[in-house]
Subunit: 360 residues, 2 copies
């Protein structure tokens, strides 16, 4: 384990909000972007949280992020819309679009919005969970820059393209699934690269499409693998899932898809001949009582959750409900603070100097 | 390879239709059920086709399938509905419900129907593909009797719960994903059991939750594994997917979920204290032009498909588009007939005698 510093959530919030304000974000946007970004740190998905703050700043410097976007609906029907994010922070565009999705669902039973011209939106789970307090099921997915080789491909054509689904229960905490459609998230590979440790088979392939356990081969023509790992273990299914996310998020909205999705890192230029605008998201909400009375549904969800959680389990383990580990982490980190590794602290300290903001 | 007989599609159609008619299905239903059932044989998913015909008959004999169902909408909003299948053949209930979904989408932009009180609906892909000719994206999923252990569970709590998504293109054939949310479909395990062959690791676990390569352990307290296989390879993601299918199909509709889903085989009784009615499906359709002009979308789908299909590939392989292998199989089998193994021929011959119908 490398050394970590622990920072109180409220202090990290204040700092991050001030960085977004310094970028020129309107007050409400700075607060919203901070809440979305830090929900990743709270929930233990450290790769998607404040560790990326300097990345957003660098994209803004290159004018690939617009701090004052005019987010607008460009087309709609009773249950659908396409939203143009105007190059805004995905951290702002996505929750605004999700709010609109929820309004649609109030009237039409469900709401579905495909978003173009956006950027990285933090963790998908945040947006899906926005539906819960409205007694709705929430869905969120996004495409991302190409790191993943479809089954039998040597080229990286898909992002880690996550899917999140949040379902309310009555007395039980909600069911919250939030997962990349790859065997392993890119963040896990980065950790192995730093440690010079081996990766399990099924996570990556090398530049001729052979199984590799060397995480450095990702930088040498290798690729992440779709959930399943190889054909025998169902990688074609992970490839299907990543493709569905790409199509719903980008081909439906008019964003870039496949190999044209612009990279998150500012030092790499977006592909020269884009096929759309920015990156794409797909967001949905379904009102529970558009199907059956909400309380009836939620009682059955309680039963579903209790049944799974109490199932006989492998010795030393227990069956988890999607969302359990993240919720536990969130309550711990709200109480005891958020641990940040040295490289992230250095990053934040640089940002602090630049914008005249202090972390502690 | 065991010996096979090849039967013309039209003859198999005629035979199957007559069996459904003999069960008492109305003419239109018998034709529809046959088309849905045999779409599996045409597309090469032999486990879900005419091989199951005698299984449907046995369920009908036990009065668990109603040949003359009164399929009805029990609740609806502009974009949603719950349909009660009245214990009908899933092969009839699902396409009827999908027709209703498509009507919803015409008006509201999208349509979403959760179905209860149904039975096995054949291949999910058939229902999803119904949307294509309407310039819509189609989705279909269903829950199924419990064979799958969630990550760390010793109990089987989920079915192989497939997901299908069909997306139209312009000059390219459509994108049609249709996959079980397990590493391997149950049909593949049955083949290995018959051959006494080993299963790859990651397909099944034994009765104490350890990796197993012995397919017979499935009958001895073992279980199929969610897509991913084990925790290190992302089985929690496959578990999430199977759960989402279960919740959308059954908790939303009022069907049985989790361990309460009734078995397809008639010799096993349904669980004693059901939590709902029959099994559940979830069907959806999204009108392309509820998002952007259909031709514009379909041109980009052509580009998406061409880009993926022409990607540089592993030596000796090529990158497939979901739906490619099944479409190739369909055109072959329409031309050259459908191969049936001896055990299936014997089954059909029994059915023929019983109902006074000849196959050839």
């Amino acid at each position: 384990m490398s050394e970590t510093f622990t920072v109180e959530y409220s202090k990290l919030f204040h700092f991050t909000e001030n960085v977004f304000l310094a970028m020129g974000c309107p007050e409400a946007d700075a607060k919203l972007a901070t809440e979305v970004l830090l929900s990743a740190d709270l929930r233990g998905i450290d790769s998607h949280g404040v560790a990326r703050l300097s990345g957003y700043v660098r994209l803004w410097e290159k004018e690939r992020i617009n701090a004052k976007p005019n987010i607008k609906v460009v087309h709609e029907t009773p249950s659908t819309a396409v939203v143009d994010g105007d190059k805004g922070l995905g951290l702002v565009v996505a929750p605004r679009a999700m709010k609109f999705v929820i309004e649609k669902a109030k009237n039409a039973g469900t709401g579905w919005v495909s978003v173009k011209n956006s950027n990285h939106f933090g963790i998908a789970g945040y947006h899906a969970m926005m539906a819960l307090s409205h007694d709705m099921i929430g869905l969120a997915m996004t495409n991302a820059s190409p790191l993943v080789a479809p089954t039998y491909s040597l080229e990286r054509l898909l992002g880690t393209n996550p899917i999140a689904v949040a379902v309310p229960a009555l007395t039980q905490p909600p069911f919250v699934a939030d997962f990349a459609t790859t065997t392993a998230a890119n963040g896990k590979l980065e950790i192995l690269q730093r440690k010079n440790a081996e990766a399990p088979t099924g996570w990556i392939q090398n530049n001729i499409g052979k199984v590799s356990t060397n995480p450095h081969e990702l930088k040498d023509g290798g690729a992440l693998l779709p959930l399943g790992g190889d054909r025998e273990h169902g990688s074609h299914k992970g490839y299907c899932l990543g493709s569905i996310v790409d199509i719903f998020s980008a081909v439906l909205s008019g964003a870039n898809y496949g190999p044209w999705v612009p990279p998150f890192v500012a030092f790499l230029n977006p592909p020269a001949h884009p096929v759309g605008d920015g990156i794409g998201h797909f967001l949905g909400a379904m009102r529970i009582d558009a199907f059956r009375p909400a309380d009836e549904f939620k009682k059955h969800m309680d039963n579903w959750i209790a049944t799974f959680r109490n199932a006989k389990s492998v010795e030393g383990e227990k069956v988890l409900i999607p969302g359990d580990p993240e919720r536990d982490m969130e309550s711990k980190r709200l109480q005891f603070g958020i641990p940040l590794v040295v490289s992230v602290m250095d990053d934040l300290s640089e940002l602090g100097k630049r914008f005249g903001v202090n972390l502690v």
